[in-house]
């Protein structure tokens, strides 16, 4: 199974509530995926700043004085906000790549969850309500976000195997389904210079789209090519710094419901996930068509 929720806000007035709305949606999808949960949330770090979300199995040791060490390595201001096993590091936007390399050197055991202008990713094993509360997701604001509850099929139940997967700056993808040609696609993408953290099929889909975007394709076209090049069952929801996209495979076994109002576009694996959204009674609610790409950009 697996559960997906997503919310793309059109009305800035709702932005302070993004985390709270997504948390409620995510918890409703617990019985579709009680193994692990994750959330990608997009909010600006502030002018000229970028952020890196990192994760550690030993946060006390790894995050101690990480900001100080990083500041010294980069010669630039660094802000560090620890949230349980994750930490969000803010650096000048031009220093993102340098900061990533420095983190890899300074704290080799630390994993990078995401990096970019707006994105933060928090994911862990455990029930969605526990995952959401340990990171304080309900208090977060932002412009758009995607959440996932995982019932594992293709790889182990680990933090790194949880969704969302981020394989490019400000990009993320979550998946309900399973891919059958991911090993072949991963080999091909590796040859083209993409790198992988896990044996997970979804990470391959994320990297496939990131690779297309890197080559200059638009989000819509990149999603379109998943229909020809990826084999298996999938409903994907993807996020970029300013966009939100949905695509389902042509067989479309994996459920999906969308709702749109003047205030937002919402996605849920089931209608249940959407029932507490403001104004849902008057929303346009529909099932996204198979083999059809939907995306919204601000």
């Amino acid at each position: 199974m697996c559960g997906i929720v997503g919310l793309f806000l059109k009305d800035p007035k709702l932005e302070p509530q993004l985390g709270a709305l997504l948390t409620d949606m995510l918890i409703t999808m617990t019985d579709r995926g009680p193994d692990s949960a994750g959330i990608a949330i997009y909010s600006s770090a502030g002018k000229g700043l970028g952020k890196i979300t990192v994760q550690s199995a030993n946060p006390d040791a790894d995050f101690a004085n990480l900001d100080g060490d990083l500041k010294e390595a980069l010669g630039a201001p660094v802000a560090l906000l620890v949230k349980s096993t994750h930490a969000v590091i803010e650096v000048p936007i031009g220093q993102l790549d340098a900061a990533r390399s420095a983190i890899a050197h300074l704290r080799p055991a630390v994993k990078v969850m995401s990096s970019g202008e707006n994105i933060e990713i928090f994911k862990e094993v455990g029930l969605p309500k526990d995952v959401a509360s340990r990171f304080g997701v309900a208090k977060m604001g932002g412009t758009h976000g995607i959440g996932h509850t995982r019932m594992a099929t293709e790889s182990a139940v680990t933090t790194m195997g949880a969704h969302p997967f981020s394989t490019g700056a400000d990009q993320c993808l979550v998946h309900n389904g399973s891919l059958s040609n991911h090993n072949g696609v991963r080999r091909e993408l590796r040859r083209q210079g993409m790198s992988f953290e896990t044996e997970n099929d979804t990470e391959v889909a994320a990297a496939f789209i990131s690779h297309k975007l890197k080559q200059g394709e638009a989000l819509g076209a990149a999603l379109e090519s998943t229909l020809t090049d990826l084999d298996g069952f999938f409903t994907f929801v993807v996020g970029t710094h300013n966009g939100f996209g949905v695509v389902r495979d042509p067989i479309a076994c994996k459920p999906a419901v969308m709702a749109e109002t003047d205030e937002y576009v919402a996605f849920g694996s089931e209608y249940r996930a959407l029932v507490n959204l403001p104004g849902i009674e008057n929303a346009r609610v529909w099932e996204p068509e198979p083999a059809t790409v939907y995306f919204w950009e601000r």
């Binding site: 479309a252 076994c253 459920p255 089931e270 209608y271 959407l274 529909w286 068509e289 198979p290």
Partner: protein
């Protein structure tokens, strides 16, 4: 009228109350409020009662229904009226995947659109869809009638047995062994009845429909195809 607040009392209490209605009952009218997309609402009812669900439902609403009339004042999630035996289910909105799957009897009316696999493996149910249906509908459908006022998606009636399919709009493609068939007087008569029962007689006339059925070529093993297996 019995009003049941699903948000307060929970699904198990609702379904056990409905299952307890056997034979004669004075409680013939039920209303379910706050369905909020919950699963299996009013599944397994076996009584001549009318149940109105005020809102949209999740998986398997009205599954295995016998006798009851179940009205959904919203849209229905996957597998609505799955394996219905008898009775009537009327959905005001849309229905998700495999509506009426394996249904053996009764009438399912969808006033909006139905998505993929509508009427898959149907075995005697009548389904009337006022809008469109998605791909692979009536796959391996064995008997009963599927009436569609709108269009049908890809591979309609793949590996069809003896179900009758009537479509007013376009059919994106026919599945293996499904062909268009002539409309004979008995089909116009049947359609007239089904449109009326399906509350669609004001919207469509029998002569606007085309009929699709089985070419009956897949029924038996054909020795000429042996090399293909």
């Amino acid at each position: 009228m019995q009003t049941f607040d699903l948000g307060k009392e929970g699904l198990r209490a609702l379904n056990s109350s409905l299952h307890a209605l056997k034979g004669q009952t004075n409680m013939t009218k039920w209303e379910v409020i706050n369905p909020k997309g919950a699963h299996a609402i009013a599944a397994g009812v076996d009584a001549n009662v009318e149940i109105t669900v005020r809102g949209s439902t999740g998986y398997y609403c009205a599954g295995m229904n016998k006798q009851a009339t179940i009205l959904i004042k919203g849209s229905a999630g996957p597998g609505v009226a799955e394996n219905m035996m008898s009775g009537t289910v009327i959905i005001d909105g849309d229905a998700s995947q495999y509506a009426g799957a394996t249904g053996r009897g009764g009438l399912l009316v969808i006033k909006g659109n139905a998505s993929s696999r509508c009427g898959i493996s149907m075995k005697g149910i009548d389904i009337v869809v006022h809008g469109n249906i998605g791909h692979m509908s009536a796959f391996m459908a064995q008997s009963g009638n599927l009436v569609v006022l709108g269009n049908a998606g890809e591979a309609l009636g793949d590996s069809l047995y003896e179900a009758r399919l009537f479509v007013r709009g376009s059919v994106k493609s026919l599945g293996a062994d499904c062909i268009e068939k002539e409309m004979r007087p008995e089909h116009y008569e049947l359609l007239e009845k089904l449109l009326k029962a399906g509350e669609a007689d004001a919207k469509a006339k029998p002569e606007q429909f085309r009929r699709y059925g089985s070419a009956r070529k897949l029924y038996n093993f054909n020795i000429d195809n042996a090399s293909a297996y």
